[in-house]
Symmetry: C2
DNA sequence: CTGAAAGCGCTAACAC
DNA sequence: GTGTTAGCGCTTTCAG
């Protein structure tokens, strides 16, 4: 049997309440008593039971994190931001992979709620009606990180994906490109498909270029899908001269796909990626890309969540972090 | 106020014990009673409180995971293996980043124990006396993943790092190289420094080559340190013709560092990495590397932990997974 | 097959 | 400053 607060109380000759006070740093304890208690704790090797505390206090100092895939270079960076801030505020994190599978996501929310987490950071794809219903039923706050909620019903932290994509494509147009390919995620994906595509289209239209749907190729965010996309782009009769890829990993695939076929980047193709993951400098030429501050999105989400958990006033439920373009070698410089 | 097991019991006209039984899938319940209870649960939207259950049953179905850095491409893959198997066995995971900082590591173990995790998967660097003492004091099982314990006091899952490194270097020697550089981690690091270096040295000696300590450069596992290492290797009067890097990320840096200075890989330098992370195919030339099954190490560690948690008999506390070399383009083929 | 009752270890009034 | 005393919501004997 483990030693409990009761054992400590007896050993120190005080009540359980007093032990609880010193353990929780309550200042209403006479220094000498505190010392006695601390000694007893030391002596007995007492370790507070957080589960009992959680049951009694209805706070677990644990938050749930639902993430599509922790092994992704993108999401793991986000997770680190979340965890660091959680630690800073004395929370622990229960991490769950969802693979963006709706059933799993719903199930995980329930599991986390059963475990009485004090809040949830949610990363995923589309927020369906069912997701929304689930979120609304939650007794604890939920914040969405790098996840779009069309209705803006829930607190979230993102960048302006559409604008960011538009900026990237505009950049390309201003460099003189008129045929720009896009390697997009599925258009069902609110961010990597829909928003970024919308940004692409908006840039094309604002610059009065002709929109050609053949220039849109769909990938699945993997390096290999970038390589494959180049099979398409390089065999078109009227090839694009620049490619905008909606993720860095696909952009690397695009670069290598082009090079493997004997094309130059930049030159035959300029390429621009999205995210500014560490990959973007681990390639030759280095990758021009849209900077999405993943770590910060994670950190800010968690910070926001702590405010909700503390019932602090929050003015901006929907925060939008700045983006910018980092110019490197994969785009020509004139 | 949330609905409790008591509410369900009243609603269904049975005792709490019965509700508990159906919730926990105990077969000793008459089908009709079970149905009544299930209906009441549905009706009331009852959600079991895992904290209360944890306090009463002394099992939380939660395991702690201590990891140096979840944003690392190496560790995040391991974490995914752990989480998948944990999910399979109905456990959740509390994930903590340690940055391999000893104080943090010790602190985290205590925090996890306070939270009453049923077990811990530990990833880290050196297991000091203090670590060992802490592990021994743990009331729940701990397994080390991709972490060496010289004394073999604790259950662990690894590959044979020394042999793997020896194989890599031997390969290089058999391809005709006689001056082989090594980009190692700090020699204080049991795995990435000590073991791999030992393997390098062993290969050199077995093949009767001369060991030249100038050929050993120390890096910090980052891409940039790979680039920097090439400043050294390319300016030596008697340059190596092959480089063995103790991580893939450093190996990419080595390749690009060489290329940036106008050298060819392979040709001027053959390079071989370690881990077979996804990076190894995301570079030109693609990287020949030692395959370390990260996901599997995570998965097997977690599986092993479940056995301990279930008090099953375990014959091999120390498991060693196989390694091999994946030949790609960064080494010449003759 | 079902119910009664005693905790699990701690917090949080409330009293003194 | 410190102690008393209810619970928190559930599992788990033990009876029957």
């Amino acid at each position: 049997m483990n030693t409990t607060i009761y054992d400590v109380a007896r050993e120190a000759g005080v009540s359980m309440a007093t032990v609880s006070r010193v353990v929780n740093g309550n200042p209403n304890v006479k220094p000498t008593t505190r010392k006695k208690v601390l000694e007893a704790i030391e002596q007995l090797g007492y370790r507070p039971n957080a589960v009992a505390r959680g049951l009694a206090s209805k706070r677990t100092t644990t938050v749930g994190v639902i993430i599509p895939d922790i092994s992704s270079i993108f999401f793991s960076e986000l997770a680190r931001g979340i965890e660091d801030i959680a630690t800073m505020y004395k929370y622990n994190i229960i991490l769950c992979n969802s693979d963006q599978n709706k059933e799993k996501e719903i199930h995980l929310i329930n599991t986390l709620l059963e475990k009485q987490v004090d809040g949830i950071v949610y990363m995923g794809g589309e927020i369906t009606e069912e997701h929304a219903a689930q979120f609304k039923r939650s007794p604890v706050p939920i914040v969405l990180a790098a996840t779009l909620d069309q209705e803006k019903d829930f607190p979230s932290v993102n960048i302006d994906y559409k604008q960011a994509a538009e900026d990237a494509v505009t950049t390309l147009i201003e460099k003189g490109h008129t045929r720009i390919g896009m390697l997009s995620g599925s258009l069902d994906d609110p961010i990597n498909g829909f928003q970024k595509f919308a940004g692409y289209r908006s840039a094309i239209e604002k610059k009065n270029l002709e929109f050609d749907e053949n220039l849109i190729v769909l990938g699945d965010y993997t390096y290999d899908s970038g390589i494959e996309a180049m099979d398409t782009f390089t065999t078109m009769q009227d090839k694009p001269t620049a490619i905008f890829a909606s993720s860095d990993e696909m952009a690397l695939g695009v670069i290598h796909g082009a090079q493997d076929k004997g094309f130059n980047v930049p030159g035959d193709f300029d390429v621009i990626g999205f995210d500014n993951t560490r990959l973007s400098v681990m390639v030759r030429p280095t990758l021009t890309t849209v900077v999405q501050p993943m770590y910060d999105i994670g950190a800010v989400s968690m910070r926001l969540l702590t405010k909700f958990m503390n019932k602090e006033e929050v003015t901006d439920h929907t925060v939008q972090l700045p983006h910018r373009i980092e110019f490197r070698q994969s785009t020509k410089n004139d």
